[in-house]
């Protein structure tokens, strides 16, 4: 089957390309951080609310996490617009084509996110009022979590499809695009990151919490920090399996040395972070939390390497096609200009 070579928009890029790339990679990391906290926070809220049925302290922990979700979700959505603008500009042909081919679900993002957000507000602001209807209250959180789990799949499907113009003539709708080889491993990779980032967030939340805040939850500081570290550590360890799975499921065309080396550097930086977190989990309550910032710095380097590796893959994967698009656009514009001159006004 032939690969389509479309024409680009005949207006110059408004920003030097390297700046657009820096904006895209940097702003996307900021966005995905809050998306991780939004999705992970909702999942942990549900988890601890269920656990809270037996031990009310966990219900209070769930409430403390839920309180952060509504703020994080607002930041997730507004911080998403910057990278959306950058990707619209940098990959116009690829991004819009993939959007159109998965159009129903792409458009579905708007109502689905609205409903998910309204559910999180309902869940948060009716916490005490629904004390007598705990199960319904939990079902609201579970419904929000379900929607939050689905929304990233839509983005991933589109963002994956855009990399492979050769597949554009094969897909018929969202589902067929979702089932392309790389989507589900990337989704697993993302879900594990949500749990890990939220785990570290719990550590941050309670690390310097005063007696009043700790008293409101009713769990010792050391225990809360250990809980947070466990959520960060085990999903991160699982990433050592999920990560290679993503890399192996990528079509080879873009897997060049630069991509692999960048990703490997990121993985290597994660090793000491794992050891530090393990040490933290085993620390006595009065010492736990001291290695928090070294862990965050190391994992941030890992994440930056992964994001850069992903961008290098994207560039390598599309390089040849972009040249063809550029050539076609130029020859078309030349023909259009010539026809304008030849046509009497």
């Amino acid at each position: 089957m032939m690969t389509p070579i479309p024409k680009d928009i005949p207006l110059a890029l408004p920003v030097p390309e390297p700046l657009l790339v820096a904006l895209l990679v940097g702003l996307f990391l900021l966005h995905i951080l809050f998306v991780n906290l939004m999705v992970g926070g909702t999942l942990l809220t549900v988890f601890y609310q269920v656990k809270g049925l037996r031990d009310p302290r966990y219900d209070r922990l769930a409430h403390a996490i839920a309180d952060t979700v509504t703020v994080n979700k607002s930041l997730a959505v507004v911080l998403g617009i910057g990278p959306l603008l950058a990707i619209n500009t940098l990959y116009t042909v690829y991004f819009y084509s993939a959007n159109a081919l998965t159009g129903d679900m792409w458009l579905g993002i708007v109502p689905i996110v609205v409903i998910a957000f309204l559910l999180t507000y309902l869940h948060k602001f009716r916490w005490d009022a629904m004390a007598a209807h705990r199960r319904i209250h939990m079902a609201i959180a579970a419904a929000a979590a379900g929607l939050f789990l689905f929304i990233p799949l839509i983005f991933l499907t589109s963002i994956n499809l855009m990399l492979f113009p050769a597949r554009w003539t094969e897909v018929q709708g969202f589902l067929s695009a979702m089932l392309l080889a790389n989507v589900l491993p990337r989704y697993l990779h993302f879900l594990l990151a949500c749990l890990a980032v939220t785990g570290l967030f719990i550590v941050w939340l309670f690390r310097r919490a005063g007696a009043e805040r700790l008293g409101a939850v009713g769990i010792e500081r050391g225990e809360l920090l250990r809980t947070g570290y466990r959520w960060a550590l085990f999903p991160s360890l699982a990433q050592f399996v999920a990560g290679p799975l993503v890399l192996l499921s990528l079509p080879e065309a873009g897997v060049i040395n630069r991509v692999v080396v960048t990703i490997l550097i990121g993985a290597v930086m994660a090793f000491p972070a794992m050891l530090l977190m393990l040490a933290e989990v085993r620390s006595p309550p009065d010492r736990i939390g001291r290695r928090f910032w070294p862990v965050v710095v190391l994992l941030s380097i890992t994440v930056l390497c992964m994001a850069s590796g992903r961008h290098l893959y994207r560039e390598a994967s599309l390089a040849q096609h972009r040249d063809l698009v550029k050539a076609k656009t130029e020859s078309y514009l030349q023909a259009a200009r010539k026809a304008n001159v030849q046509t009497p006004k």
Binding site: K7, I9, P14, V15, V78, G173, F174
Partner: protein, 485 residues
């Protein structure tokens, strides 16, 4: 249009953008840009007068605004991009290349606005008394300023779409930003938002106050005074705006306001619109003089009236721009004005990357050569007509021709002749961009479509194929194109 074409045949593509964008405008104007200064003013007044019920009312209004703006408001804002990228990717892609920095700055302002509303809302019950309260009120006015700046940036892009002004010659951001429509439209939307917020606040106040307490009357009187204050400014801004709408677009106003079916009812429409505005004025005026005389349903009617007037204004604004999506640069079908000579000489199919394969139901009753012709016609329809017309849904091309040629047999030549010159009779229609042969293929396809009554699926359902008629494909056929895997 050289993207796989998304197409919603039931409600039409225009309705998707219109629904999302209108909802966004109503929320943005009524609950953010206009409402934040009103809430901050209420909070300030409550502190100055020592009347805590002003503070309580302001907080309740803010709660509603917070819930709606950070969910439906924020997402319909993103939704305009999402839907525009589906419905007219060439237009939005071009706008982004012109207005990148404007959008980027607007985004930074928007991030600040959202952070401010979150802090303003969450600190209301914490920053009480003395300096903390003063700081909180300042935060409210700061939030109001940022809300207005986001609108002030976006309005420039809306103005640009109607009349790009000097940008057409020098393609610079500043020339686009300072287009002739910009300031008049901003001068209209700003007081409109403030007045609209007054109507929304009055409506909410009847839920948030008790009927028998004197405070309700005091609150309604003050809020309606706010609305009355901005009403004449809105009219003056509207007048200025109307004077800068390009002459050619004014011919479209009757169709824009009333659709083709009812375009003869222009006088009646103006009377109804003026009557609605007068009703809004009357309710506000009576509420100021004698708040007790205004029955509660009157505030519901006022709210519906302002929603209708604003929503309809948006429809008219979107429609009068036609036949262009970006004035004198790009037609509503996503094809640049500068592309027309080439496409009318070679045909749109000679320069289109994609083809939209006939479905089994579409191809079923056709003989092989008829299929070939129907395929050409369908592709032409998707490229030239589908941004505004459907096959079997809202504003369907079949119903349009039905009203012209009736229920009898349609003659392909007759359809083609009409389409060739339709832009003369209907100034909001772009000229047909292709060749005579393509026009005949389109006519044959429409005759077939009328018979079958089938809806036309978009690329999101049936996918796309590479268009073998594309001259670039034909010239490359001898060499194998590099495939990215």
């Amino acid at each position: 249009m050289d993207f796989p074409i998304f197409h919603a045949d039931l409600i039409g593509n225009r309705a998707i953008i219109a629904t999302i964008a209108t909802l966004h405008v109503l929320i943005n104007h009524g609950l953010a840009v206009g409402m934040m200064p009103l809430i901050a003013a209420m909070e300030w007044h409550g502190r100055k007068s020592g009347e805590s019920r002003w503070d309580a009312l302001a907080y309740k209004l803010l709660f509603v605004c917070f819930l709606v703006t950070t969910t439906i408001g924020a997402l319909t804002g993103v939704g305009i991009w999402v839907s525009a990228s589906l419905v007219n990717p060439y237009a939005i892609g071009s706008l982004i290349r012109v207005f990148f920095w404007a959008w980027f700055v607007e985004w930074l302002v928007f991030v600040t606005e959202v952070c401010l509303i979150v802090v303003y809302f969450l600190t209301w019950s914490k920053w009480t008394g003395g300096a903390a309260k003063r700081r909180h009120i300042g935060l409210g006015f700061g939030l109001a300023a940022f809300s207005w700046i986001t609108m002030a940036i976006i309005v420039s892009i809306l103005g640009f779409m109607m009349d790009p002004g000097n940008w057409l010659t020098d393609h610079a951001l500043l020339a686009g930003f300072t287009n002739p429509i910009y300031l008049p439209q901003l001068a209209f939307r700003t007081p409109l938002a403030l007045a609209m917020a007054g109507v929304v606040a009055a409506f909410l106040t009847i839920f948030f106050t008790k009927g028998d307490e004197p405070f309700r009357r005091e609150a309604l009187r003050a809020i309606n005074l706010w609305t009355l204050f901005w009403a004449p400014v809105t009219l003056a801004g509207g007048w200025w705006y109307a004077t800068v709408v390009p002459e050619a677009m004014k011919d479209n106003i009757s169709t824009a306001a009333l659709t083709m079916e009812f375009e003869g009812w222009q006088t009646e429409f103006y009377l109804i619109a003026a009557g609605t505005a007068a009703l809004l004025y009357l309710v506000a005026q009576v509420a100021v003089l004698r708040p007790g005389w205004v029955p509660r349903p009157a505030y519901v009617v006022s709210l519906l009236a302002v929603v209708w007037l604003t929503g309809h204004f948006e429809r008219v604004r979107e429609f009068v721009r036609k036949p262009y999506v970006i004035g004198r640069y790009m037609y509503a079908n996503g094809i640049r004005v500068a592309d027309y000579p080439l496409l009318q000489r070679d045909g749109v199919l000679a320069h289109s990357t994609y083809s939209y394969p006939l479905t089994a139901a579409e191809a079923g009753p056709l003989a092989a050569e008829e299929r070939e012709q129907a395929q050409r016609g369908k592709d032409v329809f998707m490229i030239a007509c589908s941004r505004c017309h459907t096959g079997a849904g809202v504003n369907s091309v079949i119903s349009r021709f039905q009203s012209l040629f009736g229920d009898g047999r349609w003659d392909r030549e007759q359809l083609a002749d009409f389409t060739t010159s339709m832009h003369d009779a209907r100034p909001y229609m772009p000229p047909f961009p292709g060749t005579k042969a393509e026009l005949l293929a389109l006519s044959d396809y429409l005759v077939h479509l009328r018979k079958s009554g089938l809806a036309i699926p978009g690329a999101q359902h049936t996918g796309v194929a590479v268009n073998a008629r594309d001259v670039a494909v034909q010239s490359a056929q001898s060499t194998s194109p590099a495939e990215s895997r």
